[in-house]
């Protein structure tokens, strides 16, 4: 409320109108491609390509129906994507929460080096991470397996979860756990019954962001999967790299990739700045 009065102070109707025009133009630029993709996925093959663009038409779900039919095989890719992202998220959350708590509470001699190591693991360029993993996986026979893919996703989700959970735990005063321990809790019980429930919203947000990073990945999956373990983003890329680009299916696949993430993203909006700035902005 304070901000509202401060922002509104000393500015005429003209200034406000200009601001709204800028904001509307920005929103059109941001949303038009997404809207256009969803609309295109609901058009017939012929309707998709007609220019000037049509925004009003009779929608058809034929493309989706065809993709999910027995011969389309799309359900299988969807299952792979779900399994890979859920598993890597689960592993990262469990280990990241424990590690993050220890890092937030413990006094490690080289705590700073440790946290730097965590952040650099998360920030390393994907091609530079892919390469040694690929060589090691080929030796171990993990190329094309779900295990390999889950492992690959954990390379970026675990450091992320560990780091972000550490920042959440740092916000919770240790005095609460100490009080619990005075009342007879063990150190782990104090963490499990007192601190973890307080960090629950942060945990949910972290989990959703981990899911998103894995779900949205293309690079790792393009190298580490085979036909049997292909994920949705890889399927999308194959639709446009084969001869005769299948734009209808590509747009429908794109829609399926982004819709769950748009919904999840709005859901964790409050924690988004924090998650995406690696906890540096709260």
């Amino acid at each position: 409320m304070m901000e509202q009065t401060r922002a509104g102070r000393k500015r005429g109707a003209l200034g406000t109108a200009v601001l709204y025009v800028i904001v509307v133009i920005a929103l059109i630029w941001a949303l038009l491609p997404i809207v256009w993709m969803v609309l295109s996925s609901l058009k017939t093959q012929a309707g998709m390509f007609s220019m000037p663009p049509k925004f009003l038409f009779k929608p058809t779900f034929d493309t989706y129906r065809q993709m999910f039919s027995a011969s389309g095989g799309f359900g299988h890719y969807l299952w792979n994507s779900v399994v890979a992202s859920v598993l890597s998220t689960a592993i990262s959350l469990v280990l990241g929460t424990l590690g993050g708590f220890a890092l937030a509470r413990g006094h490690f001699k080289r705590g700073k080096d440790l946290s730097f190591w965590v952040i650099s693991t998360r920030m390393a360029p994907i091609p530079a991470v892919m390469l040694p993993l690929y060589l090691m996986f080929s030796k171990l026979g993990l190329i094309g397996t779900m295990t390999g893919l889950v492992f690959a996703y954990t390379t970026f989700n675990l450091p992320f979860a560990l780091w972000i959970m550490m920042t959440f735990f740092k916000d919770i005063p240790p005095a609460l756990e100490e009080a619990g321990m005075v009342d007879g809790c063990s150190k782990f019980q104090a963490f499990w019954k007192i601190t973890l429930p307080m960090a629950a919203p942060g945990l949910v947000a972290t989990g959703i962001l981990c899911l998103m990073f894995a779900w949205n990945d293309y690079s790792f999956a393009s190298v580490f999967t085979s036909t049997a373990t292909q994920t949705v983003p890889v399927a999308a890329s194959l639709l446009v790299s084969q001869e005769g680009v299948q734009w209808g299916q590509a747009m429908a696949t794109g829609t399926i990739i982004i819709l769950p993430m748009l919904i999840a993203g709005i859901f964790v909006r409050k924690y988004l700045v924090r998650g995406l700035s690696m906890g540096a902005v709260k």
């Binding site: 360029p125 949205n216 690079s219 446009v240 747009m251 995406l276």
Partner: protein
């Protein structure tokens, strides 16, 4: 409690790192699968490779131009959203939606919208007399790739700076009002210094991420036309997975890591300052 994560983290980061250092010293292909010690041959050939340096040059252009545009637009829009009297939350939520779009889908959309025969953006450009095949022309492919990055990631700068603006203390602005400062003076001397840390954080995160992803280039131009969009990340993918010269690719990868580590160090410094 830290032990299991540290062990796993070591397996997923230190082991691959040492493996990459090892690979960079070997003549390493999968066929035959018997790497031979190669001394510093890979390193020397990378450092003498003109394509490598050119790909760094393009990466610098990509990063500098991309980040500059994102910073200006992102901060400008954060200020605009901050100052609108109503609907701030709704606008911020809608504006950040591209952040959730998988980079591969951004690339797909770019290709679809810029397709010369049925792309909507290509059609709009044709209406104003521009008939070039944007992604197929050397002079326009890189700007298009940069714009895709701008589309997807400018909202990140906006929400970080907006969070900084909303956390601003009242007093300095009130004092400036009492002194009769104009809006531009307030922006220059009060607002921007107060959100400086948020801006630096946003820039560091973005510069690490812009080096991190190659998805859009993989799906749109594949480094072309005529190498005009071949960034160092894409070059690494090409040397490794197309030419299968893993030793040389490992040397390229290690040089990229050095840059990331430098950026990460700066981030930790800024982060620690905020913790105090």
């Amino acid at each position: 409690m830290l032990a299991p994560s540290v062990v796993i983290l070591a397996i997923i980061s230190i082991v691959p790192l040492f493996y990459m250092i090892y690979a960079s010293l070997m003549n390493y292909t999968l066929n035959p699968d018997q790497p031979v010690f190669y001394q510093l041959h890979n390193w020397l050939s990378v450092l003498r490779d003109a394509t490598y340096w050119h790909s760094w040059g393009r990466t610098v252009v990509f990063v500098v131009v991309g980040l500059a545009v994102e910073l200006l637009l992102g901060t400008g829009l954060a200020l605009a959203i901050y100052h609108i009297p109503k609907g701030r939350n709704l606008v911020a939520t809608l504006w950040m939606l591209p952040l959730f779009v998988a980079p591969i889908v951004t690339g797909l959309l770019g290709r679809f919208l810029l397709n010369t025969t049925y792309g909507m953006y290509a059609w709009l450009l044709q209406c104003i007399g521009m008939n070039t095949d944007i992604l197929g022309t050397t002079s326009t492919a890189m700007p298009a790739i940069i714009l895709m990055d701008v589309w997807e990631w400018t909202p990140l700068i906006t929400i970080i700076v907006l969070a900084g603006l909303q956390a601003m203390p009242e007093e300095p602005l009130e004092a400036a009002d009492v002194d009769g400062a104009s809006y531009w003076m307030k922006l220059r001397y009060v607002i921007l210094p107060l959100v400086k840390r948020a801006i630096v954080v946003a820039l560091l995160i973005r510069s690490m991420d812009i080096l991190r992803y190659v998805d859009t280039i993989l799906i749109t131009t594949q480094g072309g036309p005529a190498d005009s969009t071949k960034t160092v990340g894409y070059y690494l993918v090409q040397v490794a997975f197309q030419f299968q010269d893993f030793g040389r690719a490992a040397a390229i990868g290690l040089t990229m890591l050095v840059v990331t580590i430098f950026l990460g160090k700066s981030f930790i410094r800024i982060f620690a300052r905020g913790e105090e």
